[in-house]
Symmetry: C2
Subunit: 319 residues, 2 copies
Amino acid sequence: MAQALHDAETAASFDPDEVEQITRAAWHYYNDGLTQNEIADVLGVSRIKISRLLEKGRQTGLIELRINAPHAGCLTLQKQLITAFGLVDARVVPSANNLPVVPRIGRAAASFLMQKLEPNDLLAIGWGETVATALRYAAPVFPQNNISLVSLTGGVSAYVGTTGLHGPQSNAHLIPTPLRVSSQELAQMLRVEPYVRYVLDMAATARMALVGVGVVSNAATLVRYGYCTSTELEVFARRGAVGDILGYFYDAQGEIIDFDIHRHVVAIGVEDLRRIPNRAAAAAGLQKVDAILGLLRGRLANILITDQATAEELLRRGN
Amino acid sequence: MAQALHDAETAASFDPDEVEQITRAAWHYYNDGLTQNEIADVLGVSRIKISRLLEKGRQTGLIELRINAPHAGCLTLQKQLITAFGLVDARVVPSANNLPVVPRIGRAAASFLMQKLEPNDLLAIGWGETVATALRYAAPVFPQNNISLVSLTGGVSAYVGTTGLHGPQSNAHLIPTPLRVSSQELAQMLRVEPYVRYVLDMAATARMALVGVGVVSNAATLVRYGYCTSTELEVFARRGAVGDILGYFYDAQGEIIDFDIHRHVVAIGVEDLRRIPNRAAAAAGLQKVDAILGLLRGRLANILITDQATAEELLRRGN
DNA sequence: TCATCTATTGATCATTTGAACATATTACGG
DNA sequence: CCGTAATATGTTCAAATGATCAATAGATGA
C-alpha cells in the first residue's frame, strides 16, 4: 500500500571517499573561491566531476547554506506567531507565489532541524510529504552527528527509504507497519508486537519531533495514498474535523474527535506525543490554515514552520 | 600607531532594507534555485544588482556556507589534536599549498564561532590578523543574535572598525588604548582607568575567547605594526620565548617569561584569560608550530583552529 | 553655485557553469 | 560468454555569472 511514496531519485551516497572529495571541493569552491577548473587541477579530476560533486553536496545537505539574517518581515511574523500561539519557536519562509510549497517548507524544516538538533539526539518523525522532503535534505547529515531517527507512526519507511538512511551506519527505528490497518483488532495486535512496542516507547522519549499536518479534504495526502477515502473525510468534516496529525483527526480547538479510524492507526498516542518537549509542525498553504489553527490551539505542536502568506492568515484568523 | 590595520574595503552595511533584499535574494537563489534574472524580475531590480546583493551577502557573512561533514582526513586530525593536547575542540581546514593562510583560518574561525556562540553570548577577542579576519566574516551576524564583543587587549579598535561593528545597534566594548605603551607607569595608569578597568573585568567573564598566536621572529605581526622591534624579539628568543599571546611571551612549555614589556601591555592578565572556559586560538603555518605547541602545553588556549599541514606537524612534534 | 569627487547603477564581454548528449565502463542475468 | 542495463565519465554548447568599464546621481567643499 502506497509503497513508493517518492521515487528513489535521491538515494544519497555515503561512500567515505566521495564525502571527502565533496568536502574538499566544497571547501575550495565556497571558502577559497577557486573556480571549478582550478579545483579540478588541485584534486586531479575533471572539471565536470567537480561540478557534479558540488551538486551532490548541495542536494544531500552536506553543503548547507544558511542565511543568517532572518528576513525582516518574516522575523516579525515569527515573533508574532510565537507570542500569539505561545510557541517555543517558529520559522517563516518568504512567500513566493508560484513556487511549489512543499520543497520550500521542507528545506526550511531541514534547516531548522540541523540548527536545533545536537549530536546524539533522537528525532521522532511523523507521516507526510513535508516531513519526507525535510528528511531528504537533513538526513544525510545525521550519521555525522550520530542523530537517530524514530518514527511516530507506521507507514514512514516508504519515504525514509529514499533518504539513503539505510545501511549499517544509519540509526533509524521505523515502525514496520502501515499507518492505518483494516481493523481495530489488527492494529491492537501490531501495537503490542515487541518491536513495534519498542519503537513506540522510544519515540515517546525523543526530544524533538517533526510532524506534518493533514487537511480534511479530497486533496489530503491520506486520501491520495489510500489510507482514507474521500467519503470518510466528508463524514469527519461534518463532525467537526479540521485536520489530522499522525492519523488522529481533531476539531477547531485541537481536541481529538472520537473516530473509529483512530483505533485503526498504528502510532504513538496523542498524550505521549504531547509529552515530547519540541513538537515541530511543518505546513503551509491557505487550505491548511484551519488545520494549523486547530493544531496550535490544541498544543499538538509547539513549533511551526510555515510560509509568509500562511503565517499572515493564521495571525488574522487566530486567537 | 598602526591605525589602519586593514583598509576599510569591506565596511559592511547594515541598512535594514538592504539586508532584507539580500535575504530575499539569497533565499530565492540558494533555496528556490531561481536564476539571478528571475529574482531580478520578482524583486523588480536589475540582474546585476542581484549579483551584487548576493556577493555582498557572502562577503559579510549574512549568507553562510556550512560544510556539514568534516573532511575525513581532517576529522581524524581534529580528534588527534583534541586527545594529544587535551583540547576542548579543534578545527582543521584542508591544506592548500599556495593559498594565503590567514583568510582561510579566519573563515574557519568565523564558522566555528557562528556555530558555537549562542544568542546573547559575550565574545572576547585578542589581537592579531587572524582574529581580525575572523571578525570580518562573523561580526555582521552578531547583531542578529545579540552577541557582544569585548576586547582582551588594547589596540583592537583599529581592526574592529573595519567590521562595521559600529553604530548604535552594535555592542562592542573595546579597550581604547594601544596594545603596548611606552612605560610601565602609563600602562598601570591606563589599566586603572574606569572604563578600561570595566572592559577588562567584563572580558574576564566571557564564555568564549578568540585569540591569535604571535611568533618570535621578524615576521611577527607585533613587529610589523610597530609594537616591538626585531631587536627586542631577538632578545626574547634568546631567553627562550617561542611565541606570544595578547602581548605576553611564553616559553616552549607555555610558561610566561618575565619580561619588562609585559608590564607595558594593556591587556587582561594571563590568569584571568585562563579562567575563560573556551579559549580558541586561530593560527596556522609551519613557522608558528613552536608557538602553538607552547600555547597548548601551557593551556593558554584549549581550542585550536589551524590547517592540515600545521596540525600534522604539531602532532609529529608534540608530546 | 559650481566644480570635483565619490558612490551607485547600468551595459558589455569574457569566464564560468550546468544541462544535454555521447561514450566508456562496470554489473548482472541468461 | 554474451547481451543488456545501469552507472560513471567525457564533450559540447547555451545559459548564467561576475569583472570591467562607462555613465549617472549624489555629496562635499570652496
